[in-house]
Structures are given as C-alpha cells and as structure tokens.
Symmetry: C2
Subunit: 595 residues, 2 copies
C-alpha cells in the first residue's frame, strides 16, 4: 500500500521565492488571495486528497468500473469521495463567483490538481474534464446555455466530457462521421458513435454534459467542417430540474492497461438533442479551449503520478536493507545497509527528484502566465502571457508524460522485484501514467503542434516569449557567483536549441518532412532546456534562501538537485540536437514495404 | 489480437553473412548442423510458436494462473502446448545426446528462444528455467544426480526452478535464512521460505526440480556461506519412477503487473529432502552457472517481446489512415494517408527496428562465442570466448531489457489510444517486458557486475576481448568506401568509451563510490557502442549483399537502418559519457534525510 506526502514546502518555495506569486494579487479579484491564503487552501486540499482519495486508489485499480445494461458504476468509495470533493468546494475552486465558484488563480488550481492526481489519477479525470467543459461553455456558450450549465458544472453537480474520437477518427478529426441535423426550434439532432470518452457514463453525478464534435449537413470537407455541440445526458427543464433522458447511451467500457478507476466509454448518440457551442464549423477552435486546458491538466497529472512514485521509492530506499555501502560507512549493527547508501539507487532517486521538482517549477511558471493571460489589465501583457502558455503547452504535455513514465519505471526499479507486484502499488503508477503520452493528442502530435505550428507562428513571436526572459536572466546572472558552475551549461544548451530551431525551420520552409522528422527530438531538446532554466532559477532562489537560518537542508537539497540535473541530465539535449541535425533523410529513406 | 512473424531472413543473414556460423560446424558434434539444417529447425520452431504458443498469449494474460490449496493451474492451453513443445523436441534441442538431447549449438537455441518469447514470454519461462537447471546440474551434480535428473530435465519431463530470493534477501544473498541440515545418509533437510519463484508450482510436468540456495550449519557469514541444493517436488525412486511428495509447498502466487501466464510462487520448504550441488559453501558459484545462462536468456526474451511489438506496430502503421502526408504524395482515393507516411511514426518504427535488429546481431555474436567457449579444442580460444561472454552478459541483459521496454512503449504509441486497450495486445507486451529489468539481478546490479567486476578483471583481459576485434575491424575498414559515412561516428564513440572506462576505473581504485555512481551510465554507453559496432558489421555485409541480384530491398533496409542507428541513436553514448564524467559528487552530495 502506497503512502502519500504532498509537496507543500515546495509549492510555497516556488510561489514565493522562485516565482512572483504576489504579482497575481494585484489583479482584480485576487487581491485577497495572498500566499498564506493560497497555502492554507493547498494544505487543505492535501489533507482531503490524503484522507479521502489516496485510500481509494489501489482498490479502484483492482476493482475497476463495471457496466450493466448501459449503467456504469465507478469503484467503491468514488461516489462518497466525489460528493465530499464537490461539497468541500474543490471542484469550484477556480470557477467564477457568479457560478458558485471561488475564483482562485489557476496556478493554485494546478498545484491542487497535481495533489489530486498523485492521490488518485483515476479520480482526477472527473474533476479535470468537468473544469474543461466549464471553461469551454463559458467561452463559447450562448447566454442561455451559460446560465443553465455553468452553475452546475462549476459546482460539480453535473460533470463534463469531451467527445471527439471515433473509431476511424483519432488524430484526424476531419474524418469524423457523427452528424448534427438542425431542428426548427434551434436545437440539433446528433447521430454517431464516439469512443474513448472518459467519464462518458458514471454514477457520481445526476447529469453529464457531453461536448460533442459533429458535422452539420452543409459542412465543408476537412477539419474546418467540424462543429461543437453540447449534449446533456438528461435534458434540463426550464426550472433547472432534470427532464427527459436524452438519447445518448454507453455501449461498453474499455478494458485498459491502467486508469481502471476511470470509465472509458463508447457512447452512442441516437437522435440525441444538442445545442451548438460557438460557430457552425468552428468546432475545432471551440474544442481547443477545452483541449488546451486539458493538455496542461494532463501534464500536471503526469507530474503528480511521478511524485507519488518518488514519495514511495524514497522511504523504501531508506528502509530496505541489502548489501554493504561502497563508502565504507556501514552501520555494523544492521545486517546490511539501506539501499539508499548505494550510488546507483541515489542516482535513480535524484533523477526522479530532479524531474519532479523541475517540472513542478515549470508548471507553476506556466500556471502564473495563464493567470496573467486571463486577467492582466494590459492587453499586451495578456497577449505575451497567452503566447507563452500556447508555446509551452505541447512541451509540458509531451515532456512531462514521457519523462513521468520513465520516472515511474525508476520508482519500480528501486523496489526491485517487489516493484512488479500489484499489492505494492508501484506498478499501478506506471500503468496509470502510460495513458498520458497517448491521450489529448499523442506526444507525436504535441511535437508537430510545437514545431510545425507554434515555433513559426507570427514570425516567431511565441518563441520570443520564452527566449526573452531566459536570455535576460542569463545575461543578468552571467557572473553571479551563486550560479558560476551551473549557468554556462544552460547557456550553451540554449544556444544549441536556438541552432536546432533555426535549422529545422529553415529547412522546413521548402520541405515540411524536415519538420516532421525533427519534431519529437526538438520538443525534447526544448523541454530539457526549459528544465535547465527553471533549475537555474531554483538554484538562485535556494542560494538566497540558504543565507537564512531556517530550512537550510531544504535549500541545500535544491542546490544539489540543480547540479545533478544540469550536469547529469541536461547533456541529453545535445544528443537530441544531434538527432535533429541528422535531418529527414535518416527517417524517410526507407520504402513502406521495407518496414 | 496480435499477429506474429518470425525473423527468419534476419537469422539467416546474421548467421551466414554478418557472422561466421560455419566456424561452429568445424567443432566436434556440430559437423552436420550446417546453416540449412539450422534454418530448417528455426523455421520449424517459428511454425510451432506461431501455431501453438502465440494463440495462447493473450488469454494467458487475461486468465492468468490460479492456486487452490497449493495446486497451481497454468492458463488454458499451456498443458497441451507444453506437451507438444516437449514432444517435438524443442526443450531438448541444446542438450546432450546422452540425456536425450539433440546437441544443437546454443546460438541456434538462442534464436529459437527469441521466437518463443515473442510468441509467449510467459510460456518461455518454463523452458528457459528448465534449461538453466539442466546446465547447473550438468556442471555441478554428482554422477548419481546427473543420471537421475539430466534425462528428465533435458526432455522437459520434469521442469526446473531457481530458488534464491527470500523476503529479506534479494540482491544480497548473504542474508538468506533458509537452512540445510546434513543427514546421516548424505542428504540434507531444507527449511525456509523462498519468494518470486517462477514456475515454482504448476501443472505442466510430473515433477519440478528446485535448485535452492541455503546455508549449512557451519556456514561462514556472508555470501561465501551459501550452498546450493537440489530439491525435487517428488522424490525419485531408484527405478526412475516418482516416489513420495517432498515437503515443499506453494503458499501463494503473486499478482503481478504482467507475465501473468507464469506463476510466481512463494515456496515453503518444511524439512524437505535435498542433495548438495557442488561444494559446501560454494552455492553462489554453482548458482551462477544457471544465472549467467538465465541472464542471456532474459536478454533474448526482451528482444523477442520488442520484436513482437514491432511486428504489430509496422502493419498497423501501414493500415491506419489518419491525416495527410507532409510529402505531398497522398493517395487522393483514400480518406487519409496511412500513418506510416508521417515522419514521426517512421522515426518510431525505425527506432524499434534499429534496436531489434542490432540487438539480435549482438545476441548472435554472444551466442556464437558461448558455443566456442564450450567446445573449441584450443583452450586459449575457449578462454577468450568465455571472457567475451562474461563481459557482454550484463551489458546485453541490462541494455536489451531497458531499451526493450522503451521499444514496447513506442509500439503502443504507434497505436495511439488503441495501444492502451487490453484487447489490442500492445500494452501486454509492455507489462510483460517490464519484469526483465528487475529479475535475474536488477539492471543496477548488472551495471555493478560490469563496472565493478568485469571491466577490471584480470587486468582488463575481459575488456580486451571486446576491444580487440572491434579495433581490428575499425582499422581494417578505416577507408572502406562501403562504410565511409558510418565508421567515423562509431570510431569516435569507441574512443569516448575507452576514455570513460579509464576515467572510472582510475578514480574507482581509491573511491569505490565512483564505480557505483558511474556504473549504469557506463553500461549504457558500452551497450550503445556495441550496437554501433554490430550495425557497422551489418552494414558491411549488407553492402556486399546488395551487389547480388536477389533481396536487394532486404539489404538496402539494413543500410538505411544502420545509418539511422549511427546518426540518430548512437549520439546518446556521448550524453551518457557526460553523466559518467560528472563523477560521484553529483550523486552522493545529498544527505539521506534530504531525500
């Protein structure tokens, strides 16, 4: 049975010492949410997650979900946990007050989402998708739809789904066959089958709000011909009570590698009544409101699951006694030394720690910018922050999920053969996290989004939103004695990243395959450099903090981990650069028949 | 449901064009096993595996094994499949004629073991451990034990196990508590509990031969005090029939992440009767006869499972239609292009192919040397080959299993979300293969075996067995026009490997933690360089083969894949070298409490 410990000290350090959370409290509506208020809420969330969610995680995997005649049951305990989650206001934390929300900044919501995912990734699916649906309806719904649905979604009385995939249409949404037929009363009739719908049917809430991609009769071909519809499981009456059952049924649930506490549904829409969200044929843009939020959310899930792995691997390494230390400092009273004495076990733990703490810093940075993009009074600053978030979204989604899965494998490795045994829980984390590189756009798609779209968007303006603050920091601190050893490798890695980007974009102008052949490795290189940079910022803050009396061990652990990341893990960026530089011919030379 | 296609053409190419299988046919007993005979047998094994084992693999995972009152049942179909496997002579293939074996070289056995593991890794556990037990009894048993057990193990009438791990003793076998009490009649009474015993109890064979590590009453402390015992489930009568049940019982079977068709048993020895194998207190050396064989076997398993992933990912990528090609060569009659048109999908497939075919080449090389070590008339040549196998064993075990797991993740990735669904079978391959980095010594232990023991053994003599042929090849082909583009990166990587080794061994003389802190990355660097070298040899053979009329596509695919490996994957070696060079301080600076 796994234990759980939330990263409270790290959250406070990141918000108040590495980044400038206080700047948010100057924005309208957030004046009262100071750092202490925010930390109080984070600590309460951690207590809830540890007390109510974490105990369900193992059994939710063992028992899973079930379906009987279209009725889906979630694992034992989920109904009560969800009821309490909603009642305690966690679902509504970042929603608008007018819908019953508490209007917290999303950076705080992100730190709490990590904690929820660490405790039970399966449970976190419901809350994450419901928040995504809330945001999509808020951005694209008519006033009537907003007033009916937003209060219910904000408070989690109803949950949300994202219905995109069909058997023949995954990445390529132009291929969807679900149809929407306009009705004289302004509604639509939806017909079609959607697959891989997380939370498509369940017993946690009285109603489910499906956001469904479908084609209108006059749809142009291609992905421009897709529209978004809101299709509730039960049709709301004008007074807000639930009316008739809509014609959407769950045909089956998938048997999956992991995430077994979350029902993945086949949904059949059979003349279901729906309402258009956004413009006709503008469904993809509307859905991307939800999708971008979801991509950041699943990146944070990956971080949370990796954190859960570390929080169990580290205590195990301190307790498990095997073999003698090479350092000659054994405790002769014990039959063997704790395996944390062995350098290779430490290397695994530090690899985990360096990823988790660096990724958390990156997530906080992106979260702060997302909040600024939402609410800063200056439109130029809003745009700059929006650009930054758009740029970083595919990077964190792909880098966190690929690396997070590797981290969970390392956590298992520290348990030795015991890591492979279900009862010990470590293997569940690896099975659960393995969906993240696949869903919300595979990581290959994230790489194309970054390299094929965002790097060159508006003449490189998005890229500049990353490069400018990084370059400024490197220049300011070029001779900073605190960073004397750590800064040069990051500066070199940044230069090499700029070279890789220039090379690929230049070649890609005439030959788009060059983009495709380089995309994954270039995203990876970018992720590593971004991590190197946040580790510099962490190191700077930690060096400053070390001068204080308190928490010296905390600060010194940050400096040691920064050094580990920059000297042992960042060199991977150069390997990726070599792969990028090798060009598309290494990839495209083979004929299809030769595979 | 997965498909399966055995690597027949590749096996023939490796044996006859890349390496010199014919040299084995000059050794006593193998005169008649020419390449055509060997290939006939490999093809027959592939037909058996495809027809009888592969159809069981999915259901063996779904249904798993069961235990009822100490009786373990294997998944449906395993009894019949095992009966046919034994009857068709696959178990006895590499055993001695005097025990009913067919005396095939182990390199051929290895190629067949890969095929069996590709079809059903769970099934391959039984045959692999039985062969290992056969070899251990043959090497260390008394004449009486040999005559009783070897014919039964060789023909698979009885199966074998390796009983080492106890709850408190995994890596550190000095901690075992199982006791062996000498009896006046020369037997021993064994008492203790062993865990993680693959095939410790099952319904495939009439008897099970446990090889058990235990301590004698006068055992010195530490791992030097461990002895090896043969403990049968049923005690054989003098006439070879089965006698009384011995006091060894299966207490439970583990619930595991994967490999669910193979029962992983807790075995309780309660005054069980056993016989000493080898010398008192010499159990570890005796067990390592079995262990080294097992480490090569599980490396080959990893290759086989990765191959199974590729063989399904490649056809899926040719069939699955999503999005349009970036190359502008779309087939307008189709709604979208096959995803193999997309560079990133190709990159994934080539990464898989480059690992699988390179690893197979490395496995064949090691297999050939193992056969030479066994049977060459010249003791110096035997020693040289034995050294080479000893050096390469930890490298192939760790490199194949770590990379094999990554490869299975790539295979899932090509399936998109469908890769996560159990019915499609791709996720099972990842769950199954994930045990390999953990068992037969974790990969961290392999790294210590390589760097802490074998690299410096006998003044570097083992290392020379790799370096000499590699350096000779590089010198001979320095100006070979066939390798003009491929050779320099491998030569550079070899130089850097030599530098890494010198650095670590030098620092490690005084500070053993330097060995531990560098071991995993140095093993990885070594594995990559070894792969780079075999890809050079493959490229040379393919360049030669391309001059022929036939199979031009086969040879050109080898050249393209060689180029892919050397330009896109080999650069990882330099990243690992940087980590090695960073030294132990990056790893050891943290205090235990800071984790």
């Amino acid at each position: 049975m796994l234990t759980y410990r939330a990263p409270i000290a790290d959250a406070r350090f990141l918000l108040s010492e590495v980044f400038d959370y206080r700047s948010l409290t100057q924005l309208q509506g957030w004046e009262d949410i100071d750092i202490d208020t925010a930390m109080t809420v984070i600590e309460a969330a951690a207590a809830f997650a540890k007390g109510e969610l974490h105990p369900l995680n193992r059994s939710s995997d063992e028992i899973g979900c079930s379906i009987d005649n279209g009725v889906v049951r979630t694992p034992p305990g989920f109904i009560e946990a969800y009821r309490n989650y909603v009642a305690d206001g966690w679902q509504s934390l970042c929603c608008d007050p007018e819908h019953g929300g508490q209007d917290f900044p999303s950076v705080i919501g992100g730190l709490i989402a990590e904690i929820v995912a660490s405790s039970s990734m399966a449970f976190s699916m419901f809350s994450g998708l419901t928040l995504g649906a809330y945001r999509a309806v808020r951005a694209h719904g008519s006033d009537a739809l907003k007033s009916t649905y937003l209060p219910k979604l904000a408070t989690g009385v109803w949950t949300g789904t994202m219905c995109m995939t069909e058997p023949q249409a995954g990445t390529d949404l132009s291929l969807i066959r679900t149809r929407a037929l306009p009705q004289p009363n302004g509604t639509y009739r939806i017909n079609g089958t959607k697959i891989f719908i997380s939370g498509g049917e369940h017993d946690l809430a009285e109603n489910i709000v499906h956001l469904v991609l479908a084609k209108l009769p006059d749809a142009p071909s291609g992905s421009r011909g897709v529209s978004l519809f809101l299709v509730p499981k039960f049709l709301p009456n004008p007074d807000g009570t639930l009316g008739a059952r809509n014609e959407v049924q769950c045909g089956s649930i998938e048997h999956k590698m992991g995430l077994r506490g979350s029902p993945t549904c086949v949904l059949n829409f059979d003349d279901a009544i729906g309402w258009l969200l956004g413009k006709p044929h503008g469904g993809l843009a509307a859905m991307f409101t939800m999708m971008n939020s979801a991509r950041l959310e699943v990146a944070i899930q990956a971080l949370g699951v990796a954190h859960a792995s570390y929080e169990n691997a580290a205590p195990y390494a301190k307790e498990r006694l095997q073999s003698r230390s090479l350092a000659g400092n054994s405790d002769a009273r014990l039959p063997a030394d704790p395996i944390i004495a062995h350098p290779d076990v430490r290397r695994n733990l530090l690899t985990m720690k360096a990823f988790i703490e660096g990724a958390r810093a990156l997530a906080v940075w992106v979260g702060l910018e997302a909040d600024i993009a939402e609410r800063h009074p200056d439109p130029d600053i809003r745009e700059a922050s929006h650009d930054f978030v758009a740029l970083m979204t595919p990077i964190v989604k792909a880098y966190f999920s690929d690396t997070g899965a590797d981290i969970c494998a390392l956590g298992m490795q520290i348990f030795g053969g015991h890591g492979y045994i279900r009862e010990n829980g470590m293997e569940q984390l690896l099975r659960d996290i393995r969906i993240i590189p696949l869903y919300e756009g595979t990581n290959g798609i994230q790489a194309m989004d970054l390299v094929g779209r965002k790097l060159s968007m508006r003449g490189g303006q998005l890229l500049g939103r990353f490069m400018s603050p990084v370059t400024a920091f490197l220049e300011t601190h070029a001779d900073d004695p605190d960073l004397i050893e750590l800064l040069p490798p990051v500066r070199d890695a940044l230069k090499e990243l700029e070279q890789s980007i220039a090379l690929v974009l230049n070649k890609g102008k005439d030959q788009p395959v060059e983009i495709g052949a380089a995309a994954t490795e270039l995203l990876r290189q970018f992720g590593l450099v971004a991590m190197g940079f946040v580790w510099l910022r962490i190191a700077k803050a930690a060096a400053h903090g070390q001068a204080q009396e308190e928490n010296r061990e905390f600060y010194s652990s940050k400096l040691i981990t920064a050094r580990f990341f920059i000297h042992r893990l960042l060199p991977e960026a150069r390997f990726r650069a070599a792969a990028v530089a090798s060009g598309s011919s290494t990839v495209m030379a083979m004929q299809v028949e030769q595979f």
